[in-house]
Symmetry: C2
Subunit: 291 residues, 2 copies
Amino acid sequence: MAELLSGTEVSRSLDERTAKKAEMLRRRGVVPKLVIVRCGENPSDLSYERGAMKRAEALGVRTHRIVLGDQATKEELLQVIRELNADTGVHGVLLFRPLPKHLAAFESGICNALDPEKDVDSMTDISHAGVYENREIGFPPCTPEAVIKILDHYGIEPAGSRVAVIGRSLVVGKPVAMMLMARHATVTVCHTRTADVPGITREADIVVSSAGVLRSLTREHVREGQVIIDVSINWDPSKKDGRGGIAGDADFEEVEKVVKAITPVPGGVGAVTTSVLIEHVVRAAAKTVRE
Amino acid sequence: MAELLSGTEVSRSLDERTAKKAEMLRRRGVVPKLVIVRCGENPSDLSYERGAMKRAEALGVRTHRIVLGDQATKEELLQVIRELNADTGVHGVLLFRPLPKHLAAFESGICNALDPEKDVDSMTDISHAGVYENREIGFPPCTPEAVIKILDHYGIEPAGSRVAVIGRSLVVGKPVAMMLMARHATVTVCHTRTADVPGITREADIVVSSAGVLRSLTREHVREGQVIIDVSINWDPSKKDGRGGIAGDADFEEVEKVVKAITPVPGGVGAVTTSVLIEHVVRAAAKTVRE
């Protein structure tokens, strides 16, 4: 039986510190503020938005929502971003992506219009460069940072260890590889064109799976003593007696019999992501005080 | 006996294509132009500068040199960069780094003042983001691109293969890992904190060594059938009957007995780097025509 690495526990501990920092800022006259910008009414955006706003308010971070129709023009969106850049009372901006189809061609230009100092969800090239260069410019994406927070919380040291990352996206795979490399892990990135994924993951001390494929991480991929960080959130129709529920990449029942520790889904990495987002807003606000 | 992957040959073939592109641009009234900016008289800068200027002129790329004293101020340097940004006749800028010590704290600000469209030597955050995101913004650094050119020239396909990169610098290790990952290789990045480098390199089909340590890649690190790309340029005092000469990371005599193919030093990756730089200048000039 593997140790369960509860994200909920990590989230609680991170939130406590964030709330204290927000309180200290408030005493200095700065109320951290997050603005969420959305085009249209995508249900998964709405659900994330509700969670983020609720969490933010609970931790002393003010929130504001700007909702544009799903027919919003490039110019409207750019105007909103320019105004948020200029507003010194706004510290973090979250823009839901992907943008509506008619804006897809302008997505990079729109994302990069945001001041990197307010880019709490890592959508600018400068934030990407920060992760790649291991420098504090912009903000890293929330999910890979949540992975690092979980390792830190449970005292799992990446330095000197071997890590297999499954997936090479800009949202999880690449940044988590960079962050773990900066912490002196030896990282191998596997993807859809990798010949022998199980052979590679079995050699690793830590496996970070972001394949996004239900039951893609099986008994064959793991060995004793490993730590498994399951980042994906997949829909598993067999859960809850056939009513369905969310699940990670791991064939959980089989894998957890073998490995040393594993993050559950739900209640693992996903539970920490919103906490990281709010912490970014508070950090962005703290920077304006120092300056 | 391993096949020798001659960089000189790759360089010649690349230069031919670059000269043709430059000639086509000249017929359209655009003469590609590289400006080299230097503070002081560092001997290795001078040597690279001579090589780059000579090669550029031979390929139909105009060059200009701006030499500031080693006491140049931040403001002087920024002023030079601003003028080069504004000059539509200048397509590529190469600034020698590291800057003199008194400018070290401003290096990032100075580098990022350059228009990424003219950043032919990859010193801006935008160029770094381009490599990381696998998008054509700015330019990748010349040395890792030289590695890719060598693989392409000799028909060595990274897709589906395993690659071990030794070194995690922003100049070689990280970008070459990103570029090979974009070409569907499964990449492991080793570094000074990696526990078992020989074990990892032996598993790879392609080894890219940028450790910068003479004879650090030994018989123990390699096996039959491998391709070794030796990026480092080290000083080997034992060469030329004790007069000394340059050498890579590989214990060449031992390694080349075992592996399938290897780049020599000199005449390997280093021979291609300048060709890539000049090709970037021509590409930068071509973009101004298309627009």
